[in-house]
């Protein structure tokens, strides 16, 4: 009886394995009949040694012997990999699925950094004359063209040819796969039965790693799956001694928390994750900047971002005998503590240090240094920049004599909260990205103009700024300008740059229609005499900014006004002695 049941079991097992292999072959056969070729069975060959042929055509040798089109037209596909994709040639599933899937509207694959070129099998003469991405594989050589007509060896692009296997090779591979399945099935079953958690963990890690390569949402999901598994695998407590246990439990939990936090602090800076913020993109641009000209660094905010054209400034300075690379550290809403944070980061890793630094003077930030904190409580930007130095400086201001009177408590709580959130890495992972995929941008240019003003209003605003002597008191004005706090922040910045070898400093104040700005700038320049200070108080300049098209809004320049101020600043800079 027992022998019979054992025989039956073996028969069932064998039948099951045969059925599995048959199903696998059936599925592959279906694909063969529906698509004319087996899916997935192919490989990539990277295209190296690209040379110009004639006209729009380029050629490259191919190493695969299967590429001669003697009597057979292989359904090859030429893929263009955009810069940044070299470290991510994975797109694992998309690769497995082959270029056929990459052409589908599946957003998942379409997001990959590749692009199909084509059509294939073009006449060589057409490739030379028409271009447009057409290509041909002919006797071990690839003839191809590009859609943009740019040299394929430039811009960090790479090309790969997807080569389907011959039918015999594909079927052999299928047979091998079926045989493998046959062989490992009982073993896999035994492992799953004996070690279900190990199997699940292995499968989970593999799947998670594969899924994570499909972009941020799937990386998050894979990570969440891992955390969920860990939570599930925590042992269950069955006995706790009343009262005596909770102190120990709290201590152990705290220890675990602190160890994990310490681990995060050690690991995160090294694995290349950075906050996915405009400021980080700007920092990357500055750090990676490679130039043979001396760098003029503008440190400021949106006043500089919108009010100055760096390219025009470079050209004007070059024409005046000062060839310099002008870059900006600063953008809309960048408070002084925040910019100090990025100055530190920049100087720590920059490829080239600046030869001269110009600091923007702005009453808006100097008189209310934590205004951004107040307006955007617990914003990712403020949290990302709230390190120990930033906290110290900010607290010194909040708790000092010139600090905000009414909301000191709220600001202190927020400063401490931001610092705690940053220290505990709260929300770091979902708000971060790999530094390698981060775009290095300096955000040049101005946004589209949305507000319009009559020229008379503009003239009145500018006149108020030119003629005014005292600040309006819209914000509490401290006893001295610049404030003790602003002096300290600037002194720290100058010390940092000086330590990095920069010896030339100056101040500039872009024009603004808020009367307090030019009034503040004049008082600032009168007080800060150690370095050249350039307020925008030239009547000729102001007279040239009297039209609506010169102003983006009440605060920022645009268009002709921007160009006018840039040219004016270039002449003043050349005369100031700041430039090397």
């Amino acid at each position: 009886m027992r022998k019979n049941s054992r025989t039956n079991r073996i028969v069932r097992l064998v039948a099951l394995r045969i059925a599995l292999a048959a199903i696998a072959l059936l599925v592959l056969g279906l694909f063969q009949s529906l698509q004319g070729q087996l899916p997935w069975l192919g490989h990539f060959e990277w295209i190296e040694g690209i040379r110009p042929e004639s006209g729009l055509a380029w050629t490259a040798p191919l190493s695969s012997p299967a590429l001669d089109e003697d009597g057979r037209r292989l359904d090859t596909a030429l893929l263009e990999w955009r810069p940044g994709a070299v470290t991510d040639p994975g797109a694992w599933l998309c690769r497995l699925a082959g270029p056929g899937l990459a052409q589908t509207p599946d957003a998942f694959c379409a997001r990959r950094p590749w692009r199909m070129l084509g059509p294939a099998h073009q006449l060589h003469d057409d490739i030379r004359r028409k271009g447009g991405g057409g290509f041909s594989v002919w006797h071990g050589t690839l003839y191809f063209s590009l859609t943009d007509g740019v040299d394929p060896n430039e811009g960090g692009r790479r090309f790969a040819l997807w080569i389907p296997w011959t039918e015999a090779a594909a079927w052999a591979a299928c047979g091998a796969a079926a045989a493998l399945l046959w062989a490992v099935w009982p073993l896999a079953c035994a492992v799953v039965r004996q070690r279900p958690r190990l199997t699940l963990a292995g499968l989970g890690l593999l799947s998670g790693a594969a899924a994570a390569r499909h972009g941020a949402p799937f990386g998050t999901l894979a990570w969440a799956g891992l955390l969920l598994a860990c939570t599930q695998l925590l042992p269950q407590i069955r006995h706790v001694r009343y009262r005596s246990g909770w102190v120990r439990a709290s201590a152990l939990t705290l220890a675990g928390f602190l160890v994990a936090e310490a681990g995060l602090s050690l690991v995160l800076p090294d694995i290349g994750l950075v906050p996915d913020l405009q400021s980080t993109e700007m920092l990357k641009y500055l750090v990676d900047l490679d130039t043979d000209r001396p760098i003029l660094l503008l440190v400021g905010s949106s006043y500089s971002q919108y009010g100055l054209d760096e390219t025009a400034l470079e050209a004007a300075l070059g024409a005046g005998g000062h060839p310099m690379q002008v870059v900006r550290l600063g953008f809309g809403g960048m408070s002084i503590p925040e910019r100090l944070y990025y100055v530190r980061r920049y100087l720590a890793t920059a490829r080239h240090r600046p030869a001269a630094v110009l600091f923007e003077v702005a009453a808006y930030y100097d008189l209310q240094p934590l205004v951004q904190l107040d307006q955007n409580p617990f914003s990712r930007r403020e949290i990302a920049a709230m390190d120990r130095d930033n906290l110290r400086l900010s607290l010194e201001w909040v708790l000092g004599p010139e600090g905000a009177g009414s909301n000191r408590l709220a600001l202190t709580a927020e400063l401490l909260g931001d610092f705690a959130l940053r220290t505990l890495h709260a929300g770091f992972l979902p708000g971060s990205t790999w530094r390698t995929v981060l775009l290095g941008k300096d955000y040049r240019g101005t946004p589209p103009k949305t507000a319009h003003y009559p020229d008379a209003v503009i003239a009145a605003d500018l006149a108020a700024g030119q003629n005014g002597r005292t600040l309006s008191g819209a914000v509490p004005v401290p006893g001295a300008i610049p404030t003790r706090w602003t002096r300290q922040a600037i002194a720290e910045e100058i010390a940092l740059f000086s330590a990095a070898g920069t010896g030339r400093f100056g101040f500039y104040a872009p024009p603004s229609r808020y009367a307090d700005e030019p009034i503040y700038a004049r008082q600032f320049c009168q007080a800060m005499t150690a370095y050249p200070c350039i307020p925008a108080d030239d009547p000729d300049l102001i007279a040239g900014l009297g039209h609506d098209e010169d102003w983006l809004d009440q605060t920022h320049l645009q268009g002709p006004g921007r160009q006018l101020y840039t040219a004016w600043l270039a002449t003043r800079l050349a005369a100031s002695g700041v430039l090397p």
């Binding site: 998309c94 699925a97 589908t104 509207p105 599946d106 957003a107 998942f108 694959c109 279900p196 699940l200 499968l203 989970g204 799947s207 594969a210 899924a211 499909h214 949402p217 998050t220 999901l221 894979a222 990570w223 969440a224 799956g225 955390l227 969920l228 598994a229 860990c230 939570t231 599930q232 695998l233 925590l234 042992p235 269950q236 407590i237 069955r238 706790v240 001694r241 009343y242 009262r243 909770w246 120990r248 439990a249 152990l252 939990t253 220890a255 675990g256 928390f257 602190l258 160890v259 994990a260 936090e261 995060l264 617990f378 949290i383 505990l424 709260a426 929300g427 992972l429 979902p430 708000g431």
Partner: protein, 462 residues
């Protein structure tokens, strides 16, 4: 107040410390009651009065049922339930009924003006009115004694962990817990914290990520291609589970921290092999409530077959309507009702002599059930019938984009892992250190993984 927020963390920490520092006694209950009303007032303090009214109605009805002769009890019961239903109907369904009345008259060619009330839907009204009804019905059915304490009834209805999105507590389950002072239990704390951690991962990491995949597509269905629609549907299939199960885990875990038990609301529903099983695993507190107070009250499975199917359909349609005053919820409920009827029919007619428990049939049953559930979610999620048809047409393409595959893999991993028996291979002396250290470590990792800006829980709108 969103459960996944700094404000709630602060509120919970203060309430927790104050609760356990108070000497044992009624003070703790009053503290929880006050905290619950503060919690509710943080959304809109004016509606605390409405919740108070519903509570008072339940309390008075309960006392009346305890002292009045049996003959009068029926009237008291219906008066109390009618009041609750009137509150629910006015705040939740008045606008819907008025709009449909106007449309109905227009179809008949009559230009009848019905004033459309502009009423703000009070958060959690579906839940606390159901609590109130449950209390009165359970008192009437002698499953719980009518409480002498208004505070107990108020706390049962307003207990903040389950106030705004359930699970729907049964009076018979929760009221007895209020009669004793819950002791501080290390096991309870460990269970509560584990559930909170799990809830955070479910909600903030998984559900919100899936929402990022689903929401843009469902926001512009006409512009999306087939693969995007399929992916978004699968993403929503996962999102709603992780969102609501995450909320439930947070609610149950929070209640455990205070020593109270709230029944399980989800039991890995996407592993169900039939719709009947699905409704025993999905939003269990609602489905059991509907079963006990609606389906059985309608006659259940007694009587002729047509009545049984009618009861089933009516219960599920009402369940759909409970989710919101909208036809898509009604359609969603009707689809589930139809599925349940078909399943019951199938059980009656399926051939005998076949091993329906074999893995192959179980696999087919799983696929069929989940496909039905997924299809029904399309009606739940889409804001118009046309959108739903577009999405269903995309689903019939029978393609599974890679993104959809990975989402299903994650759901499968959650269901398989979650149903594994707890690990017991550690030496007893290591269990506690491993648990507490692991909990602390995981808390740090989850904190680092939480987005700073949270999306609202889906079930808050019901």
């Amino acid at each position: 107040v969103n459960f996944v927020s700094g404000e709630f963390a602060l509120f919970l920490a203060v309430t927790y410390l104050a609760y356990w520092l108070l000497p044992r006694g009624v003070g703790r209950k009053y503290l929880l009651l006050a905290a619950s009303y503060i919690f509710y007032a943080a959304w809109d303090w004016r509606y605390c009065a409405l919740m108070g009214f519903v509570t008072l109605n339940a309390f008075i009805a309960g006392r009346a049922l305890a002292v009045l002769p049996d003959k009068a009890c029926g009237r008291v019961l219906w008066l109390s339930i009618g009041t609750d239903l009137a509150v629910l109907g006015w705040f939740k369904y008045a606008g819907f009924l008025a709009a449909n009345a106007v449309s109905g008259f227009a179809v008949l060619g009559l230009d009848v003006r019905v004033p459309l009330p502009d009423i703000l839907l009070p958060v959690g009204i579906s839940f606390y009115t159901f609590h109130a009804m449950s209390y009165v019905i359970d008192v009437r059915r002698c499953r719980v004694r009518a409480s002498h304490s208004l505070a107990d009834v108020a706390l049962y209805i307003a207990f903040f962990p389950q106030l705004v999105a359930g699970p729907i507590l049964r009076a018979g389950f929760f009221m007895p817990q209020l009669g004793r002072v819950p002791p501080f239990s290390g096991i309870g704390q460990s269970q509560g914290l584990r559930l909170i951690l799990k809830g955070l991962i479910y909600k903030a990491l998984i559900a919100d990520t899936l929402a990022d995949l689903a929401d843009p597509v469902f926001g512009a269905v006409a512009q999306a291609d087939q693969a995007a629609l399929v992916t978004a549907t699968i993403a929503f299939y996962g999102q709603i589970y992780f969102d609501f199960a995450g909320y439930s885990a947070l609610a149950i875990g929070t209640a455990r921290l205070f020593g109270y038990r709230i029944p399980k609301n989800f039991d890995y529903p996407y592993s169900s092999l039939s719709l009947t099983e699905f409704w025993r695993r999905w939003h269990m507190s609602l489905s059991f409530w509907l079963r006990d107070y609606v389906y059985i009250a309608l006659g259940g499975n007694r009587g002729p077959a047509w009545r049984f199917y009618r009861n089933l359909m009516a219960t599920m349609v009402l369940g759909g309507l409970w989710h919101g005053a909208s036809w898509n919820f009604i359609l969603w409920g009707a689809l589930h009702g139809l599925g349940l009827c078909l399943h019951k029919l199938w059980l009656g007619v399926r051939p005998r002599g076949i091993d329906w428990e074999s893995w192959a049939w179980r696999g087919i049953a799983l696929a069929a059930t989940q496909l039905w559930v997924l299809t029904a979610w399309v009606f739940f999620r889409c804001t118009s019938f046309d959108d739903a048809v577009t999405v269903l047409r995309a689903l019939t393409g029978l393609t599974l984009p890679a993104a959809g595959f990975w989402i299903l893999a994650l759901i499968a991993a959650d269901h398989v892992l979650g149903r594994l028996p707890p690990r017991q291979s550690l030496a007893p002396s290591l269990v506690q250190p491993v648990f507490w250290i692991g909990l602390g470590g995981l808390a740090a990792l989850v904190l680092a993984s939480l987005p700073l800006v949270q999306k609202a829980f889906i079930y808050f709108q019901f």
